[in-house]
């Protein structure tokens, strides 16, 4: 159906204010945002990234796309002539702004925008979407809250500090190598409003007075740390590099990291493991075990040459609860150009063979490079599994980030424990001896109801 505006309707029961005339005061951008954007998405990477509000296959002229890219990090400050109601309201800012860095990765965010802009405000004005802060590079932020074209400029608010404005939507849709990444690009509000204050001061004498109306940045209550440390479990994620291949991993013991076989396939190979929080650390290790190609469990185990100081070791879970809130932490999308990304969703399926969980599925956004990374219970921080892959449709070639597969930690835990305590790798050999029904599951095949009977 085409998108044609219908007659005004009041289905949400809230009469909108009539549109008010406004005047453009200035266009502004945040230099630090543009610098990080050029670093992460410019240069060689530019070919791969696409931010236009239309899908890569839609007809958008190159000029139009170039305009959109140039304007991506720009925002506009408007003055709006108040109506009688606004005259009655008290003066002054309507909200507070979270300082840059006050909201950590993994923290919940609420995006508020109007999909399709002014097309049908009765239906779409101030539509909400929830997610988390997935990644940050200076004032360039990413969230996995779903946003649509038309929400550019919409506000993104934090649960903590309560109701603080954190950012504005810069690009609702990001496409990498023609695939939707499922992350929305944001510009942090605090540096943007600082830029606005500076610009108003240089505009004309009357404009400087407007700077006092801009919402203030929140200070930290006395004695309280401003920076919320965020979920401690996220720090267990590591980037794993083996030769030219890189992926993600998770620390499961002081000298032990688990990743995927397709990240570190060769036994005895040297591997570099990087952690970014609480402090950046690089440690060499060796692959002590990697499953065979024929094993359904795509797993490799790396023994480090030194202890992991200060990196939390997550608690492996013993139970899985379909529907529970989960988080994936991995180095997909940006690799080492940025720290790990956090995306959230729910545990959408626990596939079992003979009452034993052998595969987990989630709705988190999982990208190439996230393989080997940890899947956590968002509430408890327990380690649920090791991310192995997302989904690709072999017919169309399309990739689906929000349907992905992890290996339950309960499959690995006995072998990990045995190796940590005795150095015996024997337990891991079981992973190469998985039964045929488990293989069928991981080949995404339908299990045969019963073995076909011979007709001889």
């Amino acid at each position: 159906a085409g998108l044609e505006p219908g007659p005004p309707a009041r289905p949400r029961g809230r009469p909108l204010q009539p549109p008010r005339p406004a005047e453009l005061l200035l266009l502004l951008s945040c230099p630090a945002f543009r610098a990080h954007f050029a670093r992460l998405f410019g240069g060689e990477a530019a070919e791969q990234w696409h931010f236009a509000s239309a899908a890569p296959d839609d007809e958008v002229s190159e000029d139009e796309e170039e305009d959109q890219l140039r304007a991506l990090g720009w925002f506009a400050l408007l003055s709006v002539r108040p109506g009688p109601e606004e005259e009655a309201e008290e003066r002054g800012p309507a909200m507070a702004v979270a300082p840059l860095g006050a909201v950590p990765k993994g923290a919940p965010l609420l995006a508020c925008g109007s999909p399709f802009g002014a097309f049908c405000p009765d239906i779409f004005l101030n539509t909400l979407s929830r997610g988390v802060l997935s990644n940050a590079a200076g004032p360039l932020l990413l969230t996995d809250a779903r946003c649509l074209p038309g929400t550019e400029g919409g506000g993104v608010f934090a649960a903590r500090p309560p109701g603080a404005l954190v950012a504005l939507v810069a690009a609702p849709l990001c496409w990498k190598a023609r695939e939707w990444v499922g992350l929305t690009l944001l510009c942090a509000a605090a540096p943007l409003l600082r830029a606005a204050r500076a610009a108003l001061g240089r505009l004309h004498p009357g404009a400087a007075a407007l700077a006092a109306l801009l919402p203030p940045e929140m200070g930290a209550p006395w004695g309280m740390p401003l920076r919320d440390p965020g979920p401690p479990w996220a720090a267990a994620a590591a980037m794993v590099e083996c030769g030219t291949v890189w992926g993600s991993g998770v620390a499961v013991a002081p000298r032990l990291v688990v990743t995927c076989r397709h990240v570190a396939p060769r036994k005895a190979a040297r591997v570099l493991v990087r952690f970014t929080t609480p402090k950046s650390a690089m440690i060499w290790g060796r692959v002590v075990f990697a499953t065979q190609e024929t094993s359904p469990y795509d797993i490799a185990v790396v023994s480090l040459e030194e202890d992991l100081d200060g990196v939390p070791k997550p608690v492996p879970t013993e139970h899985f609860h379909e529907g529970e809130a989960v988080s994936v932490v991995g180095f997909g999308v940006f690799g080492q150009a940025c720290g790990p990304s956090v995306t959230t969703g729910i545990l959408s399926a626990v596939v079992q063979v003979d009452d034993t969980p052998v595969m987990l599925q989630t709705t988190c956004a999982v990208h190439g490079g996230s393989s080997g990374g940890p899947l956590f219970s968002t509430c408890s921080g327990d380690l649920l599994g090791i991310v192995a892959s997302n989904t690709r449709d072999n017919n169309t070639g399309a990739t689906y980030p929000h349907l992905n597969f992890s290996i339950p930690i309960t499959v690995l835990q006995p072998a990990l424990q045995k190796y940590s305590q005795t150095g015996d790798l024997g337990g891991f050999l079981e992973l190469d001896r998985a039964t045929e029904p488990v293989r069928v599951v991981w080949r995404l095949q339908r299990p045969l109801a019963e073995a076909p009977r011979s007709k001889l």
Binding site: Q17, P82, G154
Partner: protein, 110 residues
């Protein structure tokens, strides 16, 4: 949504707006629009995305990537730019007040 979202939802609902840019003399249907944030109500200050202004830039979108350009004054856009901002009910508007007053409604016994 849980209690933790109360303040964020109130802030979002109060601050959210939609901005449309059109050319003087042309039908509204040919407008560009995006979302925005109401920073102050009286006087009214709104922050929205700059993408809807590129068709109106006198020097074209190249002005946005000119070296050192951190801001552009309002008159960087042509005189035929018409802007409108629309938002939902506020505490001050009668409809908003009525909503807030809803707990006062009662169901008199017949």
């Amino acid at each position: 949504m849980g209690r933790q979202w109360g303040p964020a939802m109130r802030a979002a609902e109060q601050a959210g707006c939609v901005v449309s840019a059109s050319r003087a003399g042309l039908p509204e249907a040919d407008s560009w629009s995006c979302s925005g944030v109401i920073l102050s109500r009286s006087p009214g200050l709104v922050l929205c995305h700059g993408g809807i202004f590129t068709p109106f830039l006198r020097a074209g979108s190249g002005a946005l990537t000119a070296a050192g350009a951190a801001f552009l004054p309002g008159d960087s856009c042509g005189d035929d730019l018409r802007l409108h901002v629309q938002w939902g009910p506020t505490a001050a508007s009668p409809a908003g007040r009525a909503e807030r007053g809803r707990p006062g409604l009662c169901t008199p016994q017949c």
